[in-house]
Amino acid sequence: MLSFSKSYHYLKSCICFLLIFVWHNQYAQTDLFFDAQRLCNEKKFDEALPIIEKIIIHPETKNDPASWHIRSFAYIQTFKQSLLSATDKIYLLDTAMYSALRSMKLDTAKAYIENNNSFIKNGASSYYKLSIILLQDSLNSVKSEQYYLNYKKYTSIFDPSFDFKQKDINYFNTTGSTFEDLYMRNNFNQKYGDIAKYALLKVLDIDSQNISANINLGILYYNQGATLMRMMDYDVDLAQLDVIQENAKKLFKQSLPFMIKVYQLDPKAEKALESLQGIYSALLDDEKANEFKQKKEALNKK
């Protein structure tokens, strides 16, 4: 059994210890925050990140907008230090964006609003750049679109009234023409053709009179029909030859409305005249093919 004086002494020691612990812990968190800030200022982001990860889970600082703000800054800077094409580092950008959003949500006093908006803007721009770079990698068209959607999502946050129409047209036209080019350069690989078709049809959903998308879709369908014929062996039996002709005919006919649209929008578009001549010729409609041939020749004489 402890005597009263001993118990009192023991209790006093415990209280003192607890006070020291609480003070130290609080001081330690503040200390950690300043450490992280110092390391960020010295651009030592690799060293700052583990400290920041402690800050954002500590009860004292996890709801502080400054913690998430510094986290966003550190991650976006670390992402920038990696190659933009290194898409395996995309988690850094994702984390930076998530942190900026979290900071914005906690920042009721709007103390960090300007910086957070700037981080979001910066991140949106990086997603857009990545989406374009990924178009060059034929295996990443899905990721490219995903990053493009991220670009749109974050742009809407810092600029809610931004009109994406022209940007969408440019992005999907770029995707369409890139994959149409890949389709032609890779022995008319259907996979690339389908991606091009999907993107170009998206452009026409936004702007049905878009000349570039109409021309490229017309050419794509024509080329798919022509490919069926090109791949056909000369000694294909006659019944099969009829089936191939039927399938190619359907594709040539699908090509037609897109080229007619271009011609209607611009009757002097040489590309449309040339393409219509080719499509009608493939459809064995010599009269129509000649009509467009003559129109093209007349245009060239002027």
Binding site: Q136, T174, T178, I211, Y234, L241
Partner: protein, 176 residues
């Protein structure tokens, strides 16, 4: 800088329409006709004296795409043991005994002359103008529903000196 260059190239690509160039040199109609002509060789038997030497397809008239396609075909195919040889002219070549004479539409008025010159000698006469299967050719290409079809007149094939069964009847528009 590198990104800007790539990006500019991509945008340039997006706004410059792709051309027909890669497939332009390819004429689907010519390929179909070449495949038909090759197939016809399976349905006829030529006289014994024509079973040696090259298998000659004579084109009368001008169709550059068809000529190219047939020459491409000749480089990869043969008829039995006979090599394919493609000849083109704008008039009848008296020095040649072709296995197939393809009279292009612009030369259709030569049909009568050809039939009298090659009657019974074993040349399959193919034309491509409406009504010519009735007027003397064994096979006449026609367009139906945007597809290449052919009319077949077996009597004219027999008159030309060829042996044939009824195999083509089910695939052709039969002309009596």
């Amino acid at each position: 800088m590198k990104f800007l260059l790539k990006y500019s190239l991509l945008l340039l690509l997006a706004f410059s329409s792709l051309s027909f160039q890669q497939q332009q040199s390819f004429d689907p109609a010519a390929k179909v006709k070449a495949a038909f002509l090759y197939n016809f060789t399976k349905y006829f038997e030529w006289p014994d004296k024509m079973k040696s030497g090259n298998f000659i397809i004579q084109i009368i008239g001008t169709n550059t795409n068809l000529n190219q396609e047939l020459n491409k075909m000749a480089s990869s195919k043969q008829v039995g043991n006979q090599k394919l040889e493609i000849k083109t002219s704008t008039s009848i070549d008296a020095s040649t005994q072709p296995h197939i004479i393809f009279l292009l539409s612009e030369s259709s008025d030569m049909l009568k002359e050809i039939n009298s010159k090659y009657k019974g000698k074993g040349s399959l006469v193919v034309t491509e103008k409406n009504g010519l299967a009735k007027a003397g050719s064994a096979i006449n290409f026609v367009v139906m529903d945007n597809k290449q079809k052919f009319e077949y007149n077996k009597n004219n094939a027999v008159k030309a000196g060829l042996k044939t069964g009824d195999g083509l009847n089910s695939l052709a528009i039969v002309i009596d």
